[in-house]
């Protein structure tokens, strides 16, 4: 069993994994890594490893679920039994059911389902290794997978979490900070339209702290949006055979 760490931020202002308060974990994004789904993406964010597959638009079963004027969007977020310190029971937990819902609601505004009436778009978010902030990482990968499937979208959805640890507003909490910190706030936005598609919070933030944290989250989302665009571009280059071998790494700070 994990023990609570004595301090989450040391006297020099560094966090347990050596980051500065406003620093994000390195993010690696890959698009189109599975063969069977219509679209897929993989995200590595620190120790988080999440794979997302999208099927659709395809025929919906059972038929009575059909919506006559738009596609139904279905989403499942799931943690692998081996994804955490202690084995996670494979039965769906209440947390997973709630997160499936908030991920779907974070992506709905970006998708243009009116183009695909009477169909379904299935989004499967499989968290293979979890280290805090998986719903946000899942959203980042899911919007790439949707784009990879060629589904019409208004914009990509970018997400990150911010919070408070030892009285300081910090970006991109990892597991221990999430557990023992004072607040955690996942945020997803459509960066170019500047619209919030997901916001949750637990912990304790004064109004002033909330505003600073929210600003930090919006800023982080915009940075992640650039990485998403790069990852999609690389996928296009692979598909069209114009790949530039020296294209830079996707490590982000």
């Amino acid at each position: 069993m994990q023990k609570a760490p004595e301090r989450l931020i040391d006297e020099n202002g560094f966090r347990l994994d050596g980051r500065r308060p406003e620093e994000f974990r390195p993010i690696k994004l890959q698009v189109g890594i599975l063969d069977n789904p219509d679209g897929s993406a993989f995200i590595e964010q620190g120790k988080n490893k999440i794979i997302v597959g999208v099927y659709g638009p395809r025929e919906i079963h059972p038929k009575h679920m059909v919506l006559p004027d738009r596609a139904v969007i279905r989403c499942r977020y799931r943690m692998a039994p081996f994804s955490t310190e202690e084995r996670k029971n494979p039965a769906p937990s209440r947390r997973e059911i709630e997160i499936s819902k908030v991920i779907r609601e974070a992506l709905e505004p970006a998708v243009m389902p009116e183009y695909y009436p009477r169909t379904v778009i299935d989004i499967f978010v499989e968290a293979l290794q979890c280290d805090g902030g998986t719903r946000c990482a899942g959203i980042v990968a899911a919007s790439l997978a949707l784009a990879d499937a060629g589904i019409s979208m208004r914009e990509l959805v970018s997400a990150c979490s911010v919070g408070k640890v030892e009285g300081q507003i910090v970006a991109d909490l990892f597991d221990l900070e999430d557990k023992y910190g004072e607040a955690d706030m996942p945020v997803a936005i459509m960066p170019n339209l500047n619209k919030v598609t997901l916001i949750q919070m637990d912990g304790k933030l004064s109004r002033d702290e909330f505003e600073r944290a929210f600003e930090m989250a919006l800023d982080g989302c915009r940075k992640i949006r650039n990485l998403q665009a790069e990852a999609l571009k690389r996928r296009c280059e692979v598909l069209t055979g114009t790949e530039m071998p020296e294209k830079g790494s996707l490590e982000a700070h």
């Binding site: 709630e98 908030v102 919030v196 916001i199 919070m201």
Partner: protein, 271 residues
């Protein structure tokens, strides 16, 4: 699996009307955007529960019961009692509520009520420990929705808070490894009083305390839980729409203002 819900049964013309009113800062029941419906809170409804409360919020009716039981603590918090919140959307509450295991809406409701109570540290769980690592009190908060006319999150949390404030736990001690009850009761160690305020976005207008018709028309819902020190302790966005950045910050400001009034009401009802 979470799924796009079926379209609301409200007639299109009525939906248009609600949207049109909202754009003029008016509502179907004559309320202003920042007005709550009438809130009534009655405690002690269920004698066999350790604490209970019946809340009405306009036509929304909710019953909350609290039961205490002895049980084992979680291994990572051996010195703390356990809080569990469950919500039932009973089939009598609305024609769209079906039998069967709780769906995502019931689970979200329970988890948002739980988040408000847990994150504000409403109950001092350390005081519920009887024998570290072995025996603690488990606080079961069960939310029963009896009549659904919108804004279940707020009504349920107000009910849960009132029921917990009225809850009585039996005094007991350990003698030779056995639990001996003294026969007297004391209140739960309540340390904070979280009050959520829920907003619905209709068109470009944010209204508080949406009724069911308004929920069917809204694009987005935002719940902001505020603790007794005017800090935000819980947030949840729902619905398939989006929020502007300034709408979120305005909602936080409005929630901090509004929660004070409602907290007073709950405290009066439960004391």
């Amino acid at each position: 699996m979470s799924m796009t819900p079926q379209a609301a049964p409200t007639a299109k013309i009525e939906q248009e009307w609600i949207r049109d009113l909202a754009s003029k800062n008016r509502r179907i029941d004559g309320r202003a955007p920042s007005d709550y419906r009438e809130i009534t809170i009655e405690t002690g409804t269920i004698e066999k529960a350790n604490g209970s409360a019946r809340v009405t919020l306009g036509k929304t009716k909710i019953l909350v019961g609290v039961k205490l039981e002895l049980g084992a603590p979680f291994p990572d918090t051996p010195n703390e009692g356990v809080l569990t919140v469950n919500a039932e959307l009973t089939p009598i509450a609305h024609s769209s509520f079906e039998l069967g295991p709780p769906g995502e809406n019931a689970i979200e409701l329970a988890r948002v009520v739980d988040r408000n109570l847990r994150e504000s540290k409403a109950i001092d769980l350390k005081e519920l420990c009887i024998e570290p690592g072995k025996r603690v009190f488990i606080v079961f908060v069960d939310v029963y929705v009896l009549d659904h006319d919108g804004n279940l999150v707020d009504a349920s949390t107000y009910g849960a808070l009132a029921a917990l404030l009225k809850c009585r736990m039996p005094e007991c001690e350990i003698r030779d490894g056995e639990i001996v009850y003294s026969g007297s009761f004391r209140p739960l160690p309540m340390r904070n009083y979280p009050v959520p305020v829920t907003f619905a976005k209709i068109g470009r207008t944010l209204i508080v305390d949406p009724c069911l018709k308004e929920e069917e028309v809204m694009s987005t819902r935002l719940t902001i839980g505020v603790d007794k020190e005017d800090c935000v302790c819980a947030m949840q966005k729902g619905g398939m729409g989006t929020l502007e950045v300034h709408e979120v910050t305005a909602a936080v400001e409005a929630a901090i203002l509004k929660s004070g009034e409602i907290r007073k009401l709950i405290m009066e009802a439960a004391c």
